[in-house]
């Protein structure tokens, strides 16, 4: 099997000097794929994603992007390497307009950003209408679109989403997933953490079920949905 595009390989570690939260945890994603991390509360889902993004100490194991070892890079350097990250909360600049949010997303770029912005507006048409409104005035779902749009502005090689549907209603959630699928179809690898396990696995090409910071089950989304063990313990029967 060839090396995946982005892989957090056998990661063990925790925040600061605290106890280890992850134990030998592996997650990976390839172009065109949506990889989803699910699991019960406190299982280390977000932690695994943050480890991949360099926000905590990985004591053993490594993170590789496109074959390059990036284990020791800071999150900022990883952004420059092409990783786009959308945090779960406070993921937009509330006092700035939608357009300024997108501009800030492209802060590290020195080339012309108008094409990318056009693409984002095409993907999220509602943002075009609200481009001059402060992002803080938008609804929950629209904010998430701004957040994803901001991350896309860096022209990332991989997009990471931390619980993009947290706190939005089911309908909005479906719409967001819809957009995520569209983004994925442009060939961009997407790695996301999801609370709403069932829906997320539906759209996942690859699913990771974590328990206690370890890989408990791994497979395609459909496989996991069909797995009676997984159904029993995480999906409510």
């Amino acid at each position: 099997m060839s090396e995946p595009f982005l892989i957090g390989d056998c990661m063990t570690g925790g925040y600061g000097k605290g106890p280890d939260i992850l134990h030998d945890c592996t997650i990976a994603v390839n172009p065109g794929e949506i990889a989803v991390i699910v699991g019960p509360n406190g299982a280390g889902k977000s932690t695994a994603m943050k480890a991949t993004f360099g926000m905590l100490n990985v004591r053993s194991g490594s993170v590789r992007l496109d074959g390059e070892d990036i284990t020791t890079l800071s999150p900022q350097d990883r952004v420059i390497k092409g990783m786009g990250f959308v945090p779960q909360t406070s993921n937009i600049f509330t006092s700035m307009t939608v357009e300024e949010n997108l501009e800030m997303g492209a802060f590290i770029r020195t080339d012309d950003i108008s094409d990318t912005m056009e693409q984002v507006y095409t993907l999220f048409p509602i943002l075009r209408d609200k481009r001059n409104q402060p992002a803080g005035e938008l609804s929950g779902g629209q904010r998430q679109q701004v957040a994803v749009g901001r991350a896309l502005m860096t022209k990332p090689k991989v997009l990471m989403l931390d619980e993009p549907t947290a706190g939005v209603s089911p309908i909005v959630m479906d719409e967001l997933f819809d957009r995520i699928i569209e983004v994925s179809r442009t060939g961009l690898p997407i790695l996301m953490v999801e609370q709403n396990a069932k829906q997320a696995l539906e759209i996942a090409d690859k699913g990771y079920v974590l328990v206690q910071g370890r890989n408990a089950y791994t497979g395609t989304g459909q496989e996991l949905l069909a797995d009676p063990e997984v159904r029993k313990s995480f999906l409510g029967g």
Binding site: N41, A166, N196, E202, Q212
Partner: protein
Amino acid sequence: MIVVEDLHKHFGGFHAVDGASLEIAKGSITGLIGPNGAGKTTLFNVIAGVLPPTSGRVTMDGEDITGLPPHELFHKGLLRTFQIAHEFSSMTCRENLMMVPGGQSGETLWNTWFGRKRIADEERALRAKADEVLEFLTISHIADLRAGEISGGQKKLLELGRTMMVDAKIVFLDEVGAGVNRTLLYTIADAIKRLNEERGYTFVVIEHDMEFIGRLCDPVICMAEGKKLAEGTLGEIKANEQVIEAYLGTGLKNKDKLEKA
């Protein structure tokens, strides 16, 4: 015991709690579940007096307790724990427990200077009680450690222990299981059960872990979008159509889009 009537809590345009009405029966262990952002923690905070409600009413044993500050609710027997443990980190675990009971004579400055004897007697009794609680929770060995240095799970136990230092009527537990390993989680569950049976505490438990809920709670209330969605046993809740749609999920309408070219 606790009756919540048409409670609203708005943050700007966001309706975190949007007309919630529910009742907590005396002596029950009620589970409160619902998706992230359903308003469970906000509801907790409004009942516990941390946030003032936008409108609505909360009563306890028929007495209106809406908007009372937390320290007054404490003296009425309404206690709570926190989603992220709120230990007193620079104090030892024993001190964390000993500070809890109200009306200690040593809390009056005058007595600290001129009532040393009385304080010493009270302290002895408090210390014994704290040690008893630590034993009950099977964490006697950490009594003299600073609370900031113990593990997350132990902090949760310590929080539960604080509620045992007084005769509480009702205890609200906010995600007591988050970040706690399974063995410790069962210890917590056992402690809750025993407190409920032996001391007659009423509990309200927010949890995501269905197994934990199933082990402890009856009835279970499911919240979504700031309202009560359903109430019943865990089995009933799991079978409830609305709950499946809002929390457990039905599936994606746009599945066809997955078919890739």
